[in-house]
């Protein structure tokens, strides 16, 4: 693999809640290759949004990056001064938020908001800005004569397209999209995903897609980073994650949601229990309390094992993953003795 665009090393982000610290991201490492589209997946509270925000250093007031590196184009984003970071935002790293309605200003037209970015951050003049706005609207499939409309005049899907246009405005190298299609209906969702993929391929930009929906990731991503309770459970190519999931959590997820292409009679198997409270996580492997394959050794910090090139897995039993995978496909494996 050539030099990645972004390399996250042992990243730690903590929130202060009262007198306690919640380690929302607790030593996450992964790479984002150039021109790739990577799905950052996990359940609520796993730290995926915190990572997404930490990459742009737009984090909550009670949060701080407490360790690790975010290497982007030769710079460590975790350490560079705020002024330098601010120059990178939008120009090099753009963000597509979950709810476009909340990110667009309701009292300004969409063109005004594009213009603000293009002129203030991009240094274009009024004429260039107008031309670029029209070009961007065309790219995301909206008629340019709607540039003068206000956000509320667009449907949910259109607003999400506007948000994509805004993110693309200054030709960024990396786009971070936080659940960009979660609030949308399945047909619009599919159309937006297709648009995003098409633009990503055409412009050669890298995309990090933050989502809880593995099907969405499988649909457009070529890589995935699976998170659980503040840690990266496994990462690698989409193909590897789907055909050879090697962390028991990923294996469990496979049985846990219905699949329109699967057999109709299949029974879904939940992963019993719930993710741990990060204010007091369990010792050792954080998945241990819900893992059917847990051993005594899992009470200690699990190592990162490369089960294959470009496929690191955070699990004591990663070297047995082929055998565990067979066990994990059986419903009995996940049943807790009553």
């Amino acid at each position: 693999m050539s030099e990645p665009l972004l390399s996250v090393r042992d990243l730690r982000v903590s929130y202060q809640v009262g007198r306690n610290f919640v380690h929302a991201v607790d030593g996450a490492s992964f790479d984002i290759p150039r021109g790739s589209i990577t799905g950052l997946v996990g359940e609520s509270g796993c730290g995926k949004t915190t990572i997404a925000r930490a990459l742009t250093r737009v984090i909550a007031e009670n949060a701080a990056i407490t360790g690790g590196q975010i290497l982007f184009d030769g710079k460590d984003l975790a350490k560079i001064p705020e002024k330098e970071m601010n120059a990178l935002r939008w120009r090099d790293i753009a963000f597509i938020p979950q709810s476009a309605m909340n990110s667009l200003d309701p009292v300004y037209t969409v063109e005004y908001q594009l213009d603000e970015v293009l002129r203030r951050r991009g240094g274009l003049n009024r004429k260039q800005s107008r031309a670029r706005s029209e070009e961007l609207f065309e790219m995301v499939g909206i008629d340019a004569n709607r540039l003068n409309d206000y956000p509320h005049q667009f449907s949910g899907g259109m607003r999400q397209r506007v948000a994509i246009a805004l993110a693309l405005a200054l030709d960024p190298k990396l786009i971070i999209a936080d659940e960009p299609v979660t609030a949308l209906d399945v047909i619009v969702q599919r159309q937006i995903l297709d648009q995003l993929k098409e633009l990503q391929t055409r412009l050669g930009v890298s995309v990090i897609l933050v989502t809880h929906d593995i099907s969405v990731v499988a649909y457009i991503c070529d890589r995935t980073v699976v998170m659980y309770a503040g840690k990266v459970a496994e990462s690698g190519t989409m193909q590897a994650a789907l055909t050879a999931p090697s962390h028991p959590y990923t294996m469990g997820l496979r049985n846990a949601f219905p699949d329109l292409q699967g057999a109709a009679s299949g029974i879904l198997t939940p992963i019993e229990g719930a993710p741990p409270n990060l204010a007091s996580p369990p010792a050792g492997c954080r998945f241990k309390p819900r893992c059917p394959f847990a051993l005594d050794i899992c009470g200690t910090e699990p190592p990162v094992i490369e089960v294959a090139p470009d496929h690191p897995v955070l699990c004591h039993r990663a070297h047995e993953s082929a055998a565990l995978r067979i066990e994990s496909a059986k419903t009995e494996t996940w049943m807790v003795p009553a």
Binding site: V186, D194, N255, L260, P270
Partner: protein, 329 residues
């Protein structure tokens, strides 16, 4: 129009149901904008006892409104809805109370559906109080209901508050509350959409299990065909207040007939990297419930639309195992 007496196997019978909302008010009327949204517009179907039916569609298609009509949480604008042979529009007073104990709603968001200041015991005691169940019987019924939804060691939950429970546990409490009066009919409105993937399966399995054990008749409202397929043998597909297609879920998944259903099925992402990335067979744009197209409401996005679709509303027609409202059939 009372066929119910002849069909004892039918629990719910809906004929030409309509629910129209007035929106926009006087100013919208002045500007000549339509002020009526037809959330449900001429919907007819029967539900057999013990049947599980999915109401499938995108936001704004009227599926939730339809569910609320069935439970008389909303008064219909037109048509008839019979429950167990009785038209529910006229039901009042003690009859309504009885109806409420027989037909229940399972809410979408467990975090909103339960009063945060009530303990789980209080939450579950409330419907029992309303139904005048004697106090001494209540505790036992509460425990039974919690056992039914597979909350382990239910007694330990009784004095807890909602915030002390996980989303999955809370949704089971919501389910227990809906079931505690032993209803015959439940409407579940996207009951797992707020839950994490790893715990969804547990709640869905409980839903299926309880339904089978109590022989419930159920409506499952969702925008997710894969979920509907997991819990319902029959699916009704809605678009802009009307039924597009109605039939066995497996048939719909395997070979959708209505052009809208075709797009809907093709759009569902599956965890398979080889899934087709072909453009969806549907026009862009969102349905506008204030100004639906004339004739077939789907025609402005339909790849197969022709002249007749603009002039004539397609009536539901039987096609094999299904009913389809489309001029192609």
């Amino acid at each position: 129009m009372n066929m119910i007496a002849k069909r004892p196997d039918i629990l719910v019978s809906v004929f030409d149901a309509k629910l129209h909302y007035a929106v926009g008010g006087a100013f919208a009327a002045m500007r000549g904008k339509s002020t009526v949204v037809k959330a449900v517009d001429g919907v007819s179907f029967d539900i057999r006892r013990g049947e599980s039916v999915g109401l499938l569609g995108e936001s704004g298609c009227g599926k939730t409104s339809m569910g609320r009509l069935l439970l008389k949480l909303e008064e219909k604008t037109g048509g008839t809805i019979h429950f167990d042979g009785e038209e529910i529009g006229a039901v009042r007073g003690s009859g309504l109370k009885k109806f409420r104990s027989k037909a229940q709603l399972i809410f979408q968001n467990p975090f909103d559906a339960i009063n945060p200041r009530f303990t789980i015991r209080q939450t579950l005691a409330e419907p029992l109080e309303n139904a005048d169940i004697p106090r001494r019987e209540r505790e036992g019924r509460i425990i039974t209901a919690l056992e039914l939804v597979k909350l382990p060691e239910p007694a330990q939950f009784l004095d807890r508050y909602p915030h002390q429970l996980s989303g999955g546990q809370l949704q089971r409490v919501v389910m227990a509350r809906a079931l505690i009066l032993q209803p015959e009919f439940v409407v579940a409105d996207e009951p797992v959409s707020m839950l994490d993937v790893s715990v969804r399966a547990g709640v869905l399995n409980v839903f299926r299990d309880v339904r089978d054990r109590l022989g419930l008749t159920a409506i499952y409202i969702s925008h997710d065909l894969a979920l509907v397929r997991y819990v319902c043998e029959r699916t009704i597909v809605m678009y802009l207040g009307r039924i597009m297609e109605d039939g066995p879920t497996e048939d719909i998944v395997r070979e959708p007939l209505h052009p809208y259903t075709k797009a809907l099925v093709a759009a569902v992402p599956v965890p398979n990297p080889d899934q087709s990335h072909d453009p969806l067979p549907i026009g862009r744009g969102a349905p506008d419930p204030r100004n639906p197209p004339s004739g077939c409401v789907f025609r402005d996005r339909c790849p197969a639309a022709h002249a007749r679709c603009a002039s004539e509303i397609p009536l539901p027609k039987p096609v094999g195992t299904r009913t389809v409202a489309c001029h192609l059939y």
